[in-house]
């Protein structure tokens, strides 16, 4: 019977010929992931099971949220993860100095391949769907059981097909595309469902665009977001993934619960206003909104392409005297490349600060917490009340070009205003 990409991957993982939406299945897993926040509770629960890890090469532990350790308690959590990794011979443990933000790092180092089934104790694990994998976030207890058994249960999601056509205009990137979609369907518009991207417009998107889009599938409530595998994907995988993998394609007559059309050529840069990612408005329709801080980075927009866009804008102006601009390369490799390309120099000369890779400010951890009444434009993924600090602070979500332009203007601004 006809199946979507997600259904085909899940059927293979469950050892079944086919699956249908709503079906409960158990799947073998290709990779399981935890970080310094979700890892420690998972380790505690894992110990109660009393079994060894199912495969030390298929577990990734990335201390990235509160590292380099922000306080004593965080140091204890990072230590618990480090000691667990050593005790169980975990191959893919990434120490500070080699680590990065997990969802930037794992694709970069080749731990994600098309057709694979990945769970992570982090909601943005859905990022890996950009490479044609099935990937979804779970909690610490699910992760503990998966570390012991190498499998987990899923309810097969029904699909939403998002047909992309056309090419995005100059300053429209992956962030604008996914925010536009979330604005259309709402923060629970894809709840329990799979967002399957398709159409000729996919070819116009870079891998960084796709990673940003799949990353925020969760912000529409999605179980996963997934892209077809094409030449862009295969080129990205070259030199990263040596192991064999299976390219899965959706059947032409696959059944979706809903189809959505997006003409990429008609999009403009957008911002999600507080306090939900669905409050999406075109930048050029906003009144003057002055800001105090800009963050460029995170698992959503911490890739070299994002920094390239920010650097292009900062080459045309310095950070506004009232604004703190914080730039966070997603991994050490991104940092190095940004340095070699001269972006770091551009950022520093513009008056921005450049940080080691960390999730830090995105979730209000550290490295850029907001005070009461402060506003930030951030390339991160959530603008919930209190997300980046004080409960009376505000977060405006945007792509890196809008964030950089806003840092220069001291108010939410479009890159065209800076480069005009």
């Amino acid at each position: 019977m006809a199946m979507t990409m997600t259904e085909k991957i899940l059927a293979r993982g469950a050892g079944l010929d086919s699956v249908t939406p709503g079906q409960l299945i158990k799947c073998r897993l290709d990779l399981v992931l935890a970080n310094d926040i979700t890892g420690p509770p998972a380790i505690q629960e894992f110990a109660k099971i009393g079994r060894p890890v199912f495969d030390p090469a298929k577990i990734a532990l990335v201390p990235d949220h509160f590292t380099p350790n922000k306080d004593i308690k965080s140091a204890e959590m990072a230590k618990a993860v480090r000691e667990f990794a050593a005790r169980h011979g975990i191959v893919n443990y990434f120490e500070v100095g080699r680590m990065g933000i997990e969802h930037v790092l794992l694709p970069e180092v080749g731990l994600v391949a098309p057709g694979e089934i990945i769970i992570g104790a982090d909601s943005h694990t859905c990022t890996y769907g950009a490479l044609g994998a099935f990937a979804t976030g779970v909690g610490s207890t699910d992760l503990a059981a998966a570390m012991a058994t190498g499998e987990t249960w899923f309810k097969v999601p029904s699909g939403i097909k998002v047909n992309l056509r056309g090419k995005p205009p100059r300053w429209v990137g992956g962030k604008d595309i996914i925010l536009t979609l979330i604005g259309m369907i709402g923060v629970d518009g894809a709840r329990y469902q799979s967002l399957e991207f398709a159409g000729e417009g996919v070819a116009a998107l870079t891998m960084a665009d796709r990673l940003t889009i799949a990353n925020m599938a969760i912000e529409a409530g999605g179980k996963n977001g997934i892209f077809p595998v094409d030449e862009v994907t295969l080129k990205y995988l070259e030199g990263r993934v040596e192991r064999p993998f299976t390219v899965v394609t959706a059947d032409d007559d696959a059944v979706y619960e809903r189809e959505i059309e997006i003409d990429l050529s008609a999009l403009t840069p957008v911002v999600a206003l507080p306090h939900l990612p669905e409050n999406v408005k075109a930048v050029n329709t906003l009144p003057e909104i002055t800001i105090d801080q800009v963050v460029i980075g995170s698992c959503t927009n911490g890739r070299i392409e994002d920094l390239a866009q920010a650097a292009e804008v900062f080459a045309h102006g310095g950070v506004h005297p009232r604004v703190r601009a914080i730039i966070i390369p997603g991994t050490q490799q991104v940092y190095l490349e940004a340095m070699q390309r001269g972006y770091i120099e551009t950022f520093i000369k513009a008056g921005a600060v450049v940080s080691t890779p960390t999730c830090g400010p995105c979730l209000g951890g550290y490295m850029g917490i907001l005070a009461a009444g402060e506003r930030a434009v951030s390339t991160t993924n959530r603008n919930f009340r209190g997300r980046m600090g004080h409960v009376d602070s505000e977060v405006y979500l945007a792509g890196p070009a809008v964030a950089a332009a806003s840092a220069i203007c001291g108010r939410i601004a479009s890159p065209e205003e800076v480069l005009a």
């Binding site: 409960l24 922000k70 779970v138 709840r191 409530g221 209190g386």
Partner: protein, 163 residues
């Protein structure tokens, strides 16, 4: 199992950042988390919630982060059961996995208000709003989700050799 308590009522899209803000995620100790549960939208909750109380909410409860600290904080605060119109999927899994009863009631969740006295009979599948006199039927959990819930959570289920 019969649960009976006073209702703490919240709206739609209650995210895990307000259930337990990340500034408290440098611990996973249930009691420490419970002390800050819901504080960004309801500063009175942590101090006044009583063992056995019931949380009721609108659509998409628990959206956002995968942090299991969120259902752990709610459970440790004394809440015996969460009833909502709908749940975000990771939160739903996490609650089942830690043995916190969770009921997706659909639109009828609107008919339970703040401070109502509610009785939940999980075996019979009936919610009684004793304040309004209304009764609602609970859809049974399917397949091994029910088995996990009945085992008291995923770890007990796995230790029982079911996975």
């Amino acid at each position: 199992m019969i649960l009976e308590g006073k209702v703490w009522r919240y709206g739609d899209n209650i995210d895990t950042d307000v259930i337990i803000p990340a500034r408290y995620l440098n611990t996973s100790d249930p009691q420490e988390l419970a002390a800050h549960c819901m504080e960004d939208i309801d500063a009175s909750f942590a101090a006044n919630v009583r063992q056995g109380d019931i949380m009721v909410a609108g659509k998409n409860f628990g959206c956002g982060s995968s942090r299991e600290h969120a259902p752990i904080a709610i459970q440790a605060s004394g809440i015996a059961c969460i009833i909502a119109d709908s749940f975000a999927r990771i939160f739903y899994r996490n609650a089942i996995n830690i043995g916190l009863p969770i009921i997706e009631l659909g639109k009828d969740a609107e008919r339970i208000g703040s401070g109502d006295s509610v009785r939940v009979d999980l075996q019979a599948g009936i919610i009684s709003n004793k304040t309004s006199g209304e009764e609602f039927k609970i859809q049974p959990l399917p397949g091994f989700i029910r088995d996990i819930a009945q085992a008291g959570g995923l770890i007990n289920y796995v230790r029982g050799g079911k996975a």
